[in-house]
């Protein structure tokens, strides 16, 4: 569904992405993991067309994303830090995004919107929201338009346990519905029963891209966090 071919990106001297090659298919829930500054968010932003690679190409359903912006109507995105216009109310924000996206996806998925009870805070201004509430708004928007690809950057950071569980079961449901879920997270325990593939990045380089089953078999560990930890130790040796 998404193909990344030899993508590199530098910010000044910092090499954020170094010849990344990846193929991401639907029906998978793929976690991008790696230390801070390893290029995870940059990679996601490249896929979203927010950052332009210096080299290489990204294909969405075999067409180059730089040539056609319309693929973004098939992508839902939840940013790491939801930055919204301060003096917009939640209701205005949602109605604006709905207006932009409505043509492509007439049937809306308001499940998260309802679970998070956003209806009751529609009049609140974005600047008055707590970090967790912002995350809830971001998550609701990402899933609202039945996009085939859902990109979640640190989705559970800042969410309370109840909201985290709601979001996780939503991710699970959408994955089973045949969507491609791409997420980054630092909290490995959150991912255990959710993720089907792992992409590990370090210093802008792709270290490996494996399915969970293979990863667990390789390392002989049952828990994802332990499997990753043992690989990280092996890698650094």
């Amino acid at each position: 569904m998404i193909k990344i071919a030899d993508v590199s990106k530098s910010f000044g001297k910092l090499k954020a992405l170094d010849s990344i090659n990846l193929e991401l298919n639907k029906g998978e829930c793929i976690a991008l993991i790696g230390p801070n500054g390893s290029g995870k968010t940059t990679l996601l932003k490249c896929i979203l067309g927010m950052v332009f690679p210096d080299k290489g190409q990204i294909f969405f359903n075999d067409s180059d994303i730089l040539k056609d912006w319309r693929y973004r109507s098939f992508v839902g995105y939840m940013p790491q830090i939801g930055r919204y216009p301060d003096n917009m109310s939640i209701g205005q924000l949602i109605s604006m995004i709905r207006d932009i996206r409505q043509n492509e996806n007439p049937d809306q998925d308001n499940e998260l919107f309802n679970f998070f009870e956003i209806e009751s805070i529609l009049n609140k201004r974005m600047r008055n929201l707590s970090g967790g509430t912002r995350q809830k708004v971001s998550a609701s928007l990402a899933f609202m338009f039945n996009a085939q690809v859902i990109i979640l950057d640190e989705p559970t950071a800042g969410l309370d346990p109840v909201a985290t569980e709601i979001l996780k079961s939503k991710i699970h449901k959408e994955k089973n519905a045949g969507k491609l879920i791409l997420l980054t997270s630092h909290i490995l325990s959150d991912l255990d029963d959710l993720v089907t593939q792992i992409i590990y990045m370090q210093d802008g380089k792709l270290k490996f891209h494996k399915s969970i089953a293979i990863l667990k078999a390789d390392t002989g560990e049952e828990k994802l966090s332990k499997a990753i930890a043992s690989l990280m130790i092996k890698n650094s040796l």
Binding site: F11, K45, L48, G49, M50, V51, F52, W69, R70, Y71, R72, S73, V75, Y77, P79, R83, Y84, P85, D86, N87, M88, Q92, M96, I97, D99, I100, R101, E104
Partner: protein
Amino acid sequence: MMNKVFKYVMVDILRNKIMLTYTLVLLLISISVFSLEDNSAKGILTLLNLVLFIVPLVSIIFSTIYIYNSNEFIELLVSQPMKRAKIWLSLYSGLSVSLLVAFIIGTGIPILLFEPDKSGFVLILCGSILSIIFVSIAMLAVVNIRDKAKGIGIAILLWIYFSIIFDGLVLYLLFQFAEYPLEKPMMFLSVLNPIDLCRITILLRLDVSALMGYTGAVFKEFFGTSLGILATLVVLILWAAVPLRISLQKFKRKDL
């Protein structure tokens, strides 16, 4: 789609208190100038100098700060199925239209009430075009500078350049080459500064151009003709279009 974003920007700016203050200050200045001067042509002249000073200043500074503050908004829209050009142009037209509305209410209406003749119309036209030109220049500055404080600093410097330094340089050249006939080069130099171009255009509509001596006569010979007016208009439109065009090109390829 465009309308929705444009509408949001418009509503947001028109609710802004600075915009309201700007309109009221312009209104106050215009009305008091016309009430104080017994000769309304002299009123236009006084107003001209104020308009050429205030309008570019407010346009460039307000636009610069507004675009920096809209960073989150832009980021949000860029991840949505929307052309980048549309986002940038919506922002541009939102800023331009609201600055125009403020100018027309603040200065246009008093002029139409007190001095509804040709020079008055030209002043309204010049003020309107200057508003748009300095939004363009602001957008060009913002797209090139990531840091907000630096960007606002550059915007202020640009305004100082167009309002003060440029005239200083012209005067310096005049004194240095006083022995040579400079009327034609002066005409060319004025093209490099939209504020000067507007000033000349309006001054030539007023009787005071007689005070400008031989230069004034040469200027009048060109800028006074319909060809001259057309050329002035084209140059002013270029001053609005070119910076916008470059900023748009840059924005389309900008990492957010």
